[in-house]
Amino acid sequence: MKLSSTVLALLAVIVSGPALAGKLDEVRNRGALKCGVSTGVVGFSAPDAGGVWHGFDVGMCRAVAAATLGDPMAVEFVPQTSKTRFSALASGEIDMLSRTTTWTYSRDSDLNVEFAGVNFYDGQGFLIANALGVSSAKDLNGATVCIKTGTTSELNLADYFRTNGMSFDPVPVETDAEAIQQLLANSCDVFSTDSSKLNAHRATLENPDAYSILPEIISKEPLGPAVLHGDQQWGDIVRWTLNALLTAEELGVTSANVSDLAANSTNPEIKRLLGTEGELGAMLDLPADWAQKVISAGGNYGELFDNTIGSNSPIGIERGLNALWTNGGLQYSPPFR
């Protein structure tokens, strides 16, 4: 049928998709990295008045853009809700997901998501008003709990109360902002989500000292950037961008001294990382100095952490588990060799 084939041809023209090349080529041809972030979580991702996105998750996107395109600003941010994030990744609408996403077995295997590592070791906690006089999560029997729908926290919470033989009254909310609003109005007794976010939100309260985070951490929430299964090279790029950030902190390479070290350092590890020795960049089809670009974009892991959610920000989350392994934390990068 001539007409139907013409229609098909037209559709093909209208939607002319990219050929199924590697993700890296696709990103380079486009000149921008499409990065899925949350629609707004204090400290992790939020647009400022000028429309520029800031935050810890955003920093990860910028680092990958710096590695692949040499320009940390060449990122198109695609806000995702917790419901849309995996299908956006699967459909190729975003190249990578950096949206406080927990690495779990079923997401890795069933949802075809490949986690590139852990950029934040988190755990689910409880934020509660001091006025209630609760000092342990074990005392929460019968409490009304604000919980974000479509997250792992929802399942963890049900598990936790079931294991401890307690009951609770869930109030499902779509965004953190709603949960905080309800918590402030005492519409729910306690807000349960990743404790990093609880810290971030507590810092923004009018009266942070009236609220505290309970000592129990009821789950492991390794958060990390993710890509789609199937493109190993692209997965490696995201993974090693994260590792470069960590290694840079370990070796003392910061955004301030990176160019200096690139020119003058005699430490072979630093030289390999910054591409002044060896051919590491070429192995991933990246320029030799890709790690320099990454580090000068937003600093090393420690700088990124401190400036967005850590000690240099109003949020002030402790490094804790996210300290380098040399400082008693869990953050550990395989060697650049």
Partner: protein, 433 residues
């Protein structure tokens, strides 16, 4: 012997009505205090409105415009020392984010483009809505507008819209040349000619013509559309493109061809039977699965596609109503003149049916425009979606009423004026008949 007791011989002097019956007082008595019940109701209503207004004004009238953050606002209001109920609006957020709520992430240096695009909407609609008051020539501008608007909003080379327009011209040419053939054939020829042109133009036109010279507008990705502008874009584009689809569906629904009728009725009823939000779920999670592997529309395009399909089903019903309102004689007269189906539709039926349908079309637009707020559920940053993003900033975490109020006001202005306008059209239609 009938004896008339008294007959008035001269006229009485005209007296003024008593104060309680005339003027303002009379109006009050007639409309507000005509019975005990109504007096009570009036007083009660006045008291409630007054109390509400007082509270609202007190909340609204605070000097927080310059505040840089919510805590700034709180300290400003605390300084006013209004007693225990120390509440007031924090206008700083509107100063800081008002532009963002209106234009989203559209580059500020190009704000004139959406402004121009939506301003041109008025002259483009004028020949359709006030046919008798504007010069007929303006209809050419209306025809041009569907190409002008996307070009202004999304930018790119001027040859793209021109190429598309040329495609229509080519199609029309094909239609004219094939004069004498069956109309259905002519339509097919017209379509094929236009398609062939577009396929050719897509490949070559831009490169060929760029050597001649071109006007380029900086391309703006639809990703950068946001805020109120996004709602308006989705609404206008979806309604505009749903009109032709809706006409076809309405005609199909009235068709004698059983199969066509079944398909059209099925489509219309399915779309009208499901909530818009499920269609938006389709846009956000499924549409890419339905299309050939590797195709990629951005989410705003997909939402516009689904909104168009959604609106076209409702549009079809509106136009069906318009068709049903036409007297049977019009169809018969067209047949008596020997017009074939398409000619009759084009020359007789549609012009009248569409005119009757205009108020319905406007209300469909209002409904769709309001429904565009649902895109916040799938993560698009329309005004409601932006409230989340704004509250995720350190400065504005915890702000609620000011943002919702501002958004409600924006919507109120647009939809209220449109609904008034549609009422005016309806009255005009009644007068015309």
């Amino acid at each position: 012997m009938s004896k008339v007791a008294y007959v008035r011989k001269e006229m009485l002097q005209v007296r003024k009505p008593p104060v309680s019956q005339a003027g303002f007082l009379g109006w009050l008595k007639k409309n507000l205090f005509y019975s005990i019940g109504s007096s009570l109701a009036t007083l009660l209503t006045v008291a409630v409105i007054g109390w509400l207004l007082y509270g609202l004004l007190k909340w609204l009238a605070v000097p927080t415009w310059a505040a840089q953050s919510l805590s700034d606002c709180r300290s400003i209001i605390a300084e006013l020392a209004r007693g225990e109920n120390n509440a007031g609006a924090c206008w700083g957020v509107i100063r800081d984010r008002g532009i963002q709520l209106t234009f989203g992430f559209y580059p500020p240096e190009h704000f004139w483009r959406p402004i121009l695009a939506f301003t041109f909407l008025l002259p483009a609609l004028a020949p359709i809505l006030f046919a008798e008051k504007v010069p007929g020539r303006l209809i050419w501008f209306s025809a041009l507008y569907p190409f002008l608007m996307p070009w202004l909003l999304w930018g790119g080379s001027v040859w793209v819209p021109l190429g598309v327009i040329a495609g229509f011209a080519v199609g029309y040419l094909g239609f004219r040349i094939s004069n004498g053939l069956n109309t259905l054939f002519r339509i097919a020829i017209c379509l094929i000619a236009a398609l062939a042109w577009w396929i050719y133009a897509k490949e070559h036109l831009d490169t060929v013509m760029s050597s001649v010279g071109t006007i380029d507008l900086t391309p703006v990705k639809s990703r950068n559309f946001g805020g109120f502008m996004l709602s308006l874009t989705i609404g206008v584009v979806a309604i505009g493109s749903s009109l032709p689809l809706g006409i076809l569906l309405a005609l199909g629904r009235q068709s004698d061809l059983v199969l066509i009728k079944v398909l059209c009725v099925g489509f219309i009823e399915i779309i009208r039977g499901v909530p818009l939000i499920t269609l938006l779920f389709v846009a956000s999670t499924l549409l890419n699965i339905f299309l050939p592997p590797g195709t990629e529309f951005d989410i705003i395009m997909r939402v516009i596609i689904m909104a168009t399909l959604f609106a076209s089903a409702y549009m079809a019903e509106v136009i069906r109503g318009g068709l049903a309102a036409l007297p049977r004689g019009q169809y018969e007269a067209a047949e008596a003149l020997g017009l074939d189906y398409w000619k009759a539709q084009r020359l007789i039926i549609m012009p009248q049916a569409l005119k009757v349908s205009i108020p319905g079309i406007v209300s469909t637009f209002i409904a769709l425009f309001k429904d565009t707020t649902l895109v916040s559920v799938i993560g698009l940053l329309d005004p409601l979606g932006l409230t989340t993003a704004i509250r995720a900033n350190q400065e504005w975490a915890g702000i609620v009423w000011e943002l919702y109020g501002f958004i409600a006001l924006l919507f109120m202005i647009v939809t209220f004026s449109m609904s008034r306008f549609s009422m005016y059209l309806e009255r005009k239609l009644h007068r015309d008949h």
